[in-house]
Homo-oligomer: 170 residues x 4
Amino acid sequence: MLVLPWRFAGIEQPSTLEPTLMMNGEFETDWTSTTLRVRYAETDQMGIVYYANFFVWFEIGRTDLCRQLGFTYEEMERQDGLYLMVAETRCRYKAPAHYDEEIVVRTRLRSVRKRVLVFAYEVYRALDPMLLAEGETIHVITDRDGRPRALPEKYRELFRVHSKAVSSRQ
Amino acid sequence: MLVLPWRFAGIEQPSTLEPTLMMNGEFETDWTSTTLRVRYAETDQMGIVYYANFFVWFEIGRTDLCRQLGFTYEEMERQDGLYLMVAETRCRYKAPAHYDEEIVVRTRLRSVRKRVLVFAYEVYRALDPMLLAEGETIHVITDRDGRPRALPEKYRELFRVHSKAVSSRQ
Amino acid sequence: MLVLPWRFAGIEQPSTLEPTLMMNGEFETDWTSTTLRVRYAETDQMGIVYYANFFVWFEIGRTDLCRQLGFTYEEMERQDGLYLMVAETRCRYKAPAHYDEEIVVRTRLRSVRKRVLVFAYEVYRALDPMLLAEGETIHVITDRDGRPRALPEKYRELFRVHSKAVSSRQ
Amino acid sequence: MLVLPWRFAGIEQPSTLEPTLMMNGEFETDWTSTTLRVRYAETDQMGIVYYANFFVWFEIGRTDLCRQLGFTYEEMERQDGLYLMVAETRCRYKAPAHYDEEIVVRTRLRSVRKRVLVFAYEVYRALDPMLLAEGETIHVITDRDGRPRALPEKYRELFRVHSKAVSSRQ
């Protein structure tokens, strides 16, 4: 299935992603960036990247944001027994991605709350750069059995260190 | 990454999917159903279905809705040169799906407009049945090169035949 | 990447899969059959099913063979703590599979030994039927930690009940 | 499904991959290397990388080998209308790969013939390095419609430039 810009369709796009996902937390981080190259396996018969794979790229962005902030999600699961359970996801597609193109995934924590994290993503074609898609994922922090847990202070502190002033968002 | 019910987290879930995707068209269809069994390949190291795979299941639901309405999406692409380009997707996760479980994907056209189709989905575990996820995808009708096209009358007529009165939605 | 018949290439195909995988066990089972429909997600930009997905179909065939023999692999993992670890796989591609085609995966246990199972597969397009691919996977029976285990008698007995006389193979 | 070393199973492994895939060509290239990091999406419920994904990694190795030899497979398809159709694949699994591990895929052209290319692969965990898997894929060069074509001289020349003396193989 194809991905495509609303603008090509001459259709007014719903204004913004914000309304339903407006969950302001204490702070948010700056963007981190990850580069990847489109795999043949990620394309479909339309000759472009299959739409579900953008969520795989979002996950790569999350993993890399953790690493750039000073910890690994792998350790968070294994050592602390904490999981970022996905509660909601969305993606808005602007333009298709193609095999062998270099892609930049930008990721940031848009909201850090006691038991909920909201990540925001932007996917660019590196060449131009051109915005291909933007999305969000909402996660609840849980233990292995799915019971909600509070974000440990050590992670909160890491997020805080890398946060920007929330007031600068406007 | 895990999927999990908001309710377990004791968090008030954003009320509804409707607001941003409110795009009422001329009519909408009733639900169609598709059954599938969870593949080992679809699980991740949390022991549950990886979150991006729900969008693959949505696509299976779309393909089956077309077939149940009297045409195949495969022919729509090949014979008419028309594509349902994905412009926006979202999914809200309620409970995880596991390997070898039987799954029911319910799909309906929630809005049919001149150049835009909105599909809605519900994913159930067949056993209970228990609602695992619900989502929506917005598609723009285009030609092979991504230029928007009007939905041909033959498809519009098929949708109309299977539509229910919009006024019955409340 | 495409899959294609050797014969179109005018090349003499290596004679048979047998030599390196020749591991005769005590007995073997008859073929079981599973039907599936090609997903859009399974295609690549050549317009055909991506080659790695045939191994996903093999796994579906294995799961179904277990079910048709009277147990589920899911229970084997969860209740008995036994795993069929993949040690070697191969696939020979004869003709491509396309989106929305109905596919039949035939699976059989080609060899049952104390700690090793060899499964054989044939993938057909249901319409003709036309052979699209054939392959084999070799599995070692282990516990959760990867230590080899002997196949429990209850499974051996199930395999035996469904076995055909090995002497009838010729 | 798990991947696992033969040696843990106390089983004598079939001696070598060579016999059925013995297709000596005019020359072969040296190894090229590609690094990747295991994605969460690539794991399954055994907590390790799903076995079919090793073939996705092989494809990444092929793409990178082309680039390191001076052309892109993407251009080969788009500009020359030539495709490397997969005719046969195999993989032997030595040890499992885990989420977030850094992986090195080594790739080389093991045989270059008029219309057939054989690629060989080795997958290592970068840390040790430890060999996780080795495999081969055989490809027939075709046009878009699957008809066999001779490898153009420009590619043959690139392969030759990067080839090592075949006699040095022993």
